[in-house]
Subunit: 475 residues, 2 copies
């Protein structure tokens, strides 16, 4: 077996063959070639034996005609034809192939035989394989977008960012995660759908992201972890250095069985998986939405925060709604976080400078009466005081979006957060028309915004958890 | 003490005095009078001793000038002035006053004295009091909207519906819940912010909603339950007849303390509250978003569903994403629901008529390969078969929103759901441009749609829980 090429050729190929390219808009092969022609900076070569040209570009009958031109191939043809295509790739000097077609091990014996043939070719020739049964990969710098979903002007819509995404499931990566990437919920460095993991697997992609300077944090959806020891090794390597969030399906017998039929992989004993993940500082979540919400949190702020308490788990709440403060406190406590009493000097300041006479400050800091009396300056002053409190590791804001947004002390909050080095997360409620402005302003200061309190708590808990790992690492 | 008037006069007054009406757009008294003049069908009388007219309408110096004209008053003046206003109301024959001002028991001793004075007037005169420290109430038929937030053309925007909402917290009711009501997340019959509950309390409002034919389900945010026995009585009365969802803040010491300072009420021992709620069939949630999501579920389908299993807790999943099925199964199991094996005849049908040869059907029913082979008819056929399965009480769909939506068998699904009488909930992912159409179509068949799996599970669990209570009641 020859020395294996690394993953660089997938993320930054010089020339790309698209096998299965077609002008039929109903086919995935159309979306791939259309996206690639529009967005990839280097040469793109349609390959389809039945066409002379595709979308106005010369079409090749076989990858063999592309010797010396393409170093990567995207393959979207029926499974049975794939081994032949891979032989062609190897013969033409192609180093890496992204197999997006389904119909492999997940469909039974015949598929397994095809998969074995592909593996044999890869072992013999050194050709690296990505997939099959997946949407491939996205890199925002340099730009490449392989998924079989049409996204016009995708290179203009996906701004480079620092989040790495790994997903095992094709439809989900294609549909759900891409929906978030494309809608700007976060900006990514690389998004990888690894499918059946015939060759490139989650460990290799994670290792790549771990040492990729453009990737500062990673969120991953996995159905199986093939090599537990190697996985553990890379996650330990990342602990406290790059945040890693994992959604691992198949916790129960019923779901583990479903995972088996879906990507032909054993889910593994969940207790073992869970223990290992926890040990190595991985943040584990249960729903795709949670994974996306932490993707947003760590794409906005991937670095560790300063912790001022020994436990690093103390949260203050600054709220315009007393009721919101009550419910948020319940959720924080239920999540294992503390809602501590504030320092005396903080309370003295709030009582003296911010609160109305009749009102005794406490945590949650309910500032609506102070705002009614003193205007929005009360908000900024409270936040500054609470961030400076050494009993507090992070602050959750509950502001109110309204036409009063112009009086909201964004700059002051941003500066206070930056100076304190502490974590801040914000809820948002009120008038929908002001949500975007509010979110954008706060995001600019490293403050993620969510519409539900549960997500605020999850983001804060994860920020503090990662920051504790970073502190341990430094010690 | 005189016989107390019921709540009808609040929900359907003949004439309304707005005390504290002002043309100053920065004040709540402006929003109230502007909303009322625009949306209330009967006469509205601005009251403000410093004005001759407000928004072009004659302004009165005192409610006393309105004898025989107004039977209800909305009061938004400083707390200290409220007792005088209430004497005026009683003298003018006003039956009910909505007190929206803050500055009562929640602000300390002086506020408590004012509150005592108000109670004394109410006891002596029979005047009913709503609030204080709240946004009042909304009724969609006949229309009345008292909150101190300006919502232009509110009567055209709030379509009559069947959901009742109760909220103790002013800002939340004003901001958060109104945001959902106004954005059409659900349609309501009545929305009630009860604030400090000086007179009208959650039990009386619940009783009213329990016997109100226009209200088919109720969601409530409560910080305190003053009379546990009476509360339990009305919730038992509703159990299995009208769904009741409660978010009760103050589970922990820290949050109970915060609730005390916020609405001057004891939160009560949470174990007692929790046990009582469970016993009487109340569905309890932990976050405002959950409350709103169940509001959506029960506003779309308030009636019980047909259960076919003895446990009434068996859920099937029909999904275009294998990975989504795996994670959803985890969440269903974690929520205490079952994901049963399907009946042999269902499996036989799926194998014979729907699935590709190589694929063995099971629950979750992963239909993407079948759709690829047979088109969207596979979706409709699978759903019909699974709904007819007697081992299944409810079905969660995981469809994909895309330009293929025109091939989606909405009518077929709608008919199958109607015929089976079973609960159905849908996730949504994919292309954002098609979300609204998809949601609207499914909603029309009594199928609520959510963007996260957790909410799908919560809605299904709550549908089945209520349906079991209804079955028990019928037995």
């Amino acid at each position: 077996m020859r020395e294996r090429t690394g993953l660089d050729v997938f993320f930054a190929p010089r020339g790309v063959a698209v096998v299965g390219a077609t002008p039929n808009e109903l086919k995935g092969g159309y979306s791939i070639i259309a996206n690639m022609l529009e967005s990839f900076a280097g040469p793109v070569y349609p390959v389809n034996p039945g066409r002379d040209e595709v979308l106005g570009v010369k079409c090749y009958r076989s990858v063999r005609e592309l010797a010396g031109k393409a170093d990567m191939a995207i393959v979207f043809v029926p499974a049975a034809s794939v081994p032949g295509v891979l032989e062609d790739c190897a013969a033409a000097g192609v180093k890496a192939a992204v197999l997006e077609s389904g119909g492999f091990a997940e469909v039974g014996e015949e598929g397994k035989r095809i998969e074995a043939a592909c593996r044999e070719i890869a072992a013999r020739t050194g050709l690296r394989l990505w997939g099959p049964n997946c949407t491939g990969l996205v890199n925002t710098d340099p730009f490449i977008f392989t998924p079989f979903m049409r996204v016009p002007n995708v290179h203009e819509r996906l701004k480079p960012g620092t989040l790495g995404i790994i997903a095992q499931s094709g439809m989900l990566a294609a549909g759900f995660m891409l929906q978030y990437v494309i809608s700007g919920y976060f900006t990514v460095s690389k998004a990888c759908a690894i499918g059946n993991k015939m060759d490139v697997d989650e460990v290799e992609v994670l290792r790549y992201m771990s040492s990729d300077p453009k990737t500062k944090a990673v969120v991953a959806y996995l159905e199986s972890i093939v090599d537990g020891r190697a996985f553990l090794e890379v996650t330990r390597e990342m602990a406290g250095r790059k945040p890693l969030v994992v959604l691992k399906g198949g916790r129960y017998e019923e779901s583990a069985r479903a995972a088996l039929s879906h990507t032909a992989s054993m889910a593994g004993s969940d207790e073992v998986v869970d223990g290992a993940l926890r040990q190595s500082g991985v943040i584990r979540v249960d729903d795709f939405q949670e994974l996306m919400n932490l993707g947003k949190a760590f794409s906005i702020h991937p670095e560790p925060f300063r912790l001022s308490t020994p436990g690093g788990d103390c949260v203050a709440v600054v709220t315009v709604t007393g009721g919101g403060g009550v419910v948020l406190t319940d959720l924080l406590r239920a999540a294992g976080l503390k809602v501590p009493a504030l320092e005396q000097r903080t309370l003295d300041f709030l009582r003296r400078e911010v609160f109305p006479d009749w009102m005794a400050p406490s945590n949650p800091v309910d500032i609506w009466p102070a705002i009614e009396q003193r205007g929005f300056a009360a908000f900024g002053d409270s936040i500054k005081a609470v961030l400076a409190d050494e009993r507090v590791d992070g602050v959750i804001l509950l502001p109110f979006a309204s036409r009063m947004i112009e009086y909201f002390p964004f700059e002051e909050i941003g500066e206070a957060v930056r100076e304190s080095g502490k974590a801040m997360v914000s809820w948002m409620f009120g008038d929908l028309r002001y949500f975007d402005t509010m979110e954008e302003r706060l995001r600019g200061f490293g403050i993620p915004v969510y519409n539900d309190l549960h997500s605020c708590v999850l983001a804060m808990k994860s920020y503090l958890c990662f920051s504790r790992k970073a502190r341990e690492r430094d010690e």
